[in-house]
Each structure stands twice: as structure tokens, then as C-alpha cells.
Point group: C2
Chain length 368, copies 2
Amino acid sequence: MASIPVQTAGGNYSVRVQPGLLQNLSTHLRKTGLAHGKIFVVTTPEIWKLWGKAFLASFAKQPTKPEILFLPSGERHKRLASIEKLADEMVERGARRDSLLVAFGGGVAGDLTGFLAAIYMRGIPYVQVPTTYLAQIDSSVGGKTGVNLRTGKNLIGSFHQPAVVLTDPRLLKTLLPRELRAGMVESIKAAVLGDGAYFQWLEKNCSTMLRGDIDALTQAIHVSVRIKARIVSADERESGQRMLLNLGHTIGHAIEAATQYRKLLHGEAIAWGMIAAGRLAVARGAWQAADAARVERLLFRLGPLPKFSVTPQRLLQLTDADKKNRSHTRNFVLPVKLGRAIVVTDVTAEEMLAAIRSMMQTVQELGV
Amino acid sequence: MASIPVQTAGGNYSVRVQPGLLQNLSTHLRKTGLAHGKIFVVTTPEIWKLWGKAFLASFAKQPTKPEILFLPSGERHKRLASIEKLADEMVERGARRDSLLVAFGGGVAGDLTGFLAAIYMRGIPYVQVPTTYLAQIDSSVGGKTGVNLRTGKNLIGSFHQPAVVLTDPRLLKTLLPRELRAGMVESIKAAVLGDGAYFQWLEKNCSTMLRGDIDALTQAIHVSVRIKARIVSADERESGQRMLLNLGHTIGHAIEAATQYRKLLHGEAIAWGMIAAGRLAVARGAWQAADAARVERLLFRLGPLPKFSVTPQRLLQLTDADKKNRSHTRNFVLPVKLGRAIVVTDVTAEEMLAAIRSMMQTVQELGV
């Protein structure tokens, strides 16, 4: 179960999930056939401190060492200014069209490095080596790259598929527990929208995963990536199928915006967003209340979700700013059974507001 | 002779060249089928002062007017900071995935707007309405978009083809004579590398064009665009054929870099670069000296070229920094007859230096 193929208009590649893969990283990079020029690694000082030595070990016998470029940690560095700084450094260190970029970090490093690769000299290849659970199951796959604007998240970017995704679940040993929990929300999301059996598996293995069991994590990464790969392969550019991946994201994004992206991790906001979406689906009779409750129970088994405070009206307003909405239609992803979701365009502001109100009630009761 | 088709992997579109086209601009935009959302125009204050009223005239009967975004004139604003500023303005004025961008200006506005379209919300459509001769015959066609870095020109960018190029030669009425002359260098380049009959036509009509005759200019734009469209259609991404368009550019770019992009217009630097490339071709017996001399004579009929001062060694060094060179090979475009050029990879540093020396001699003698 080593490799998962992803096939898109922008390129075919595979996601390799294998504990201990980092030990043979340079071999895997050479296998892409794209490592004949210089290799540039974009990483954060924190990740490099933990894993830099292990990263470099497989290059010990190589004639040329990779060049390491540092990106400060955190969402606030996911901006064009960082792209410009990294690009200037690349020029100064001799990067050309035959150079290869490697993203070694979480979602921010992956999105930013992918975008840098997309626009450096009008496009060079890159490889994802994701280090967080969320990046391993989600953001490293699918070729969405980009940065934030002052006026909104991910508003600047490209579709640029990686040459390969090299995932080592052992890297999760150093991941903060809160990061793991938030990442697992997206696994639950993938299960709810695409794989009922996986949902049951997650119910059974949730605690094992939370303890950091590498076998269980590896299996979960595998299934989550397979679901995402299936959807992305059908629709690279989010015209239909791919919208399903936004389950919980319409309201989740609004929560992130309302809290200035500071109070909640992405996955935590999505958890609340999924709760709201589930209740909306139940309210319009599209989904069984028992299934929605099962999803909420599993979400809360990951741990308590952060509380936040915002008026329902304000959240509703913010859902409209989501870039997924084209003019005059409001796309919304509705779960209809465990393992299946659909995209609808007829959700009214009233329905949305009712679901947001119901969710905010729970935020008050169960948020911490 | 209204429309020239361009067919690339990144999209098919046409270049419409027609005096007076600006009067029906809104009709032409609607014909793309992409103007159902908001229209955002990127232009410079100078161009807008001259042509803004004429631009808006065709929208008089439209329910919604285009939004106008201003970009300060000049190469030094072709940077990521301008992209960020314009993107923020677009968000604030309600631009979405179904919005349409229009580049209304010269090469800088076109390259920058095209890139903005390539990366705004991961890609929206755009239309080129070029206002300089150089933009009309060259930069508006082919989908190369991008910005400069501190460390070099056009090092950040995308291939993003316009939905249509709408060219009104009457806009050239307000073009500075020096800009027209510099632009005509690229017409001569197109003739030398791809169309011997066009070269003869240019010899005959050069003076008429310099006087600003719209019929002659329209014809020249047409043929130049046809040559570029033919090459770009064969090779969008510059792996083979498209390199031919770099005739004169290896040394031309080095001259621009050596003079900090200040002293010479792009076309003027390319004129010197073509002179050097021609002499190199003659020196290695690949081209007839009489043809090279004919090209030089035609170049000087446009007017005197600016003088500049730099050591040949320094220029040689700067040719190596050109992003067209992959590691270990130096691509060079060699004219072999009037109407045909080839790409070679075996040009030695010595040959290059000799050609640069010979050119610098002429710079001293004929530059002003």
C-alpha cells in the first residue's frame, strides 16, 4: 500500500506514504528524474531543528547538497513578500529552470513553496514532503498553491501539481497534539463526504491515532489521501466534484475570518463548520439526525473545541465573501449520508442563519 | 485581414488588429463570452488621460461600467508589490472568479495584468488591449506574463493566455517617436528570423511607418503578429521553436542589465544585441556578411541608437545570468538567412566575446 496515484490535467504523480521514508529521501527525489539540477528546500527553522539532520542524512553520499531556504513559521508569513524574498535568494544561489524545489513543512510551507515553484521563471518542478498530519492528508495533495492577501486567505495562487508527494508518518512524532487533533478533523470530513467504512474505522481507531500510533496514522493517511486523490483526479479545478472537499468550509472559513485566523486552528474551525453544515442538512430533511449526531460525537472525541464569540449575522455575512461563491449563487456542501455529500446551490440565508445560531449555541455550551 | 488565430496548449484565441477598434471595445469584450461578471481595467494614469474617454465611450449603453485600476508607469513598478496592491483593490471592489481583467497599456501593464489574472483566485480570464507598438506586435501575444525581481527581469511569472487580444493601431497616434522606433526593432527581428519578404517590405515602408501612417503600421503589426503567432502556436513554453524569438536577446538582455534598465529602451538594447548576433553568425560562416549589413542598415534607418559604456567581459558575464540558459548549455539564436534563424548550443565564450567587442566598437562610433 505504498503509492497512491493522482491524475489531473496538470499532471500525474503519486503520493508515497511510508514510515521511515525520510531515510531514503534523496533516492526518492532522484527517482522523479527531476533532480539533475540544484535542489532547493523550503522549510521552517522549527522543523529544521527537529528534522534537518535526518533530512540531510540521505544526501551524505551525494556530490551536491541541497540548498536550504528558511521561511518563518506561521500563517502571517504566507504572503507575496515571502515569495519575493525566497525567489531573490534562489536567484542568488543559482536556481534555474532545471532546479527542483522541495517543500519540507506543514500546510503553509507547502502552499507557499508550491506557488513559488509555479511562478519562479514561469514554473519549475517541486516535491512535497509534508510534516504535519493536515499537510500529509490534505494540503500536499491536489496542487492548490498560493498565498494570502491582506483582504483574504488564499486569494492569490496557482494550480501547480507536485512531481511527487513523499510522506513519512514518523515525522508526526514531533507534532503538537493540538495540531494532530485539528488535522484529524479533515480525516473525519473525508470520511463523511466520501467513505462510510472509513468513518467506522475512525470511530474505532480514533483513540489509537490520538496516542500517536504510527501504524494507525499511516493507515488513516492512506485512506484520506485516496479519497482526496479520487476527487481531485476527477476535477482538478473545482468546477464540480472538488467542491465536495469544502464540506464544513463555508462556515468554517467565516469563523476563521471572524476570529482573525488567530484563535482557532484551521481544522478546529472546520469542525464547527461541519457541525453547522450537518445541522443544516438535518433541518432540511436531507440527512438523518442520528448520523449527524454520530459525526458530532466523533469530532468531540478528538478533544474540546475552542470557544469564540461572534454574532450569527456577522458569520452569515462572512460566508458571502468566500471565493468559492460565484456571483448570485451560493454553493453549499450538504452531507446526505455517512460517506456521501452533495453540492447544492439553493441554501437560503435563513437556513444558513438558523444553522449558524444552532452551532453558536453549542459553541457556548461545549467550547472551551 | 482582421483576426489572427493563436493556438497553444494553454488556450486558443485570436488577435484582432483593426484601426478604430476601441470604439466598439465593449462589443468585442462581450463576444468573448467572459464579460458576464465585473470588468476590471488595469491602466496607467498617462494612458487613461489620453484615451480613457474613448475607452469608456463604448460602455455608455452598458448597465455596468468597468472598474478602473491604476498602475504607475514604468518598469520599476513591474513588481510583486504592484500585484498585491491591485489584487487587494480587486477584492475590495468585488472581483470574483467570474470577473474579467483588461490590460490597457504597454508591455509593463500587459505583463503585469496577465500575471495578476493568472494568480488572482488561482486564475481568471483577461484581455489584452495594447497601446504601444511593441506591445501590439510582441508582448500582448504569447501568454508570457510576469514581474521583475530585484535580482532580475521577468524572473517571476506564468504562462497565461489572454482570451483575446484587441489591437487598435490608432492608439499609436499618441506614442512617443522613440517608443515607436524601439518597437520597430522587434518587427525587424521578426522579419529576420521568420519572413524574408516582410524584411523587404520593411525596407520599403520603414519611413512611412516612422511618419505614423496608420495603414502601414496596421500592415506591419499584422505580419509581425502572424510570425509570432506561428512560433508561439508551435511551442508555447519555449522548449524549441519559441527560443527563436530571442534573436538578439541574449546580448540585448545583458546590455539592459549592465545599464540598469535605464539608459536604453528594450528595443534599443535588442537592436545592439541583433547587431552582435549577426556579426557572430557571419564570423562563424553561418550567415552572409551582405545580409547582416542590410539588417544593420535598416536598424540604423530607425534613428540613432543610444551609446552606453561597459566592458565586453562584463557583458559576457551577464549573458550567463540569462534565464534562457539551462545549466551547462548556452542557447544562442543565429540568423542564417533573411527570414530564417536557428538555435545553436555550441557558441563559445570566445566567439561571444569577439562579437561583443565588435559591437562595442560600433557603439563607440555610431551610438549617440
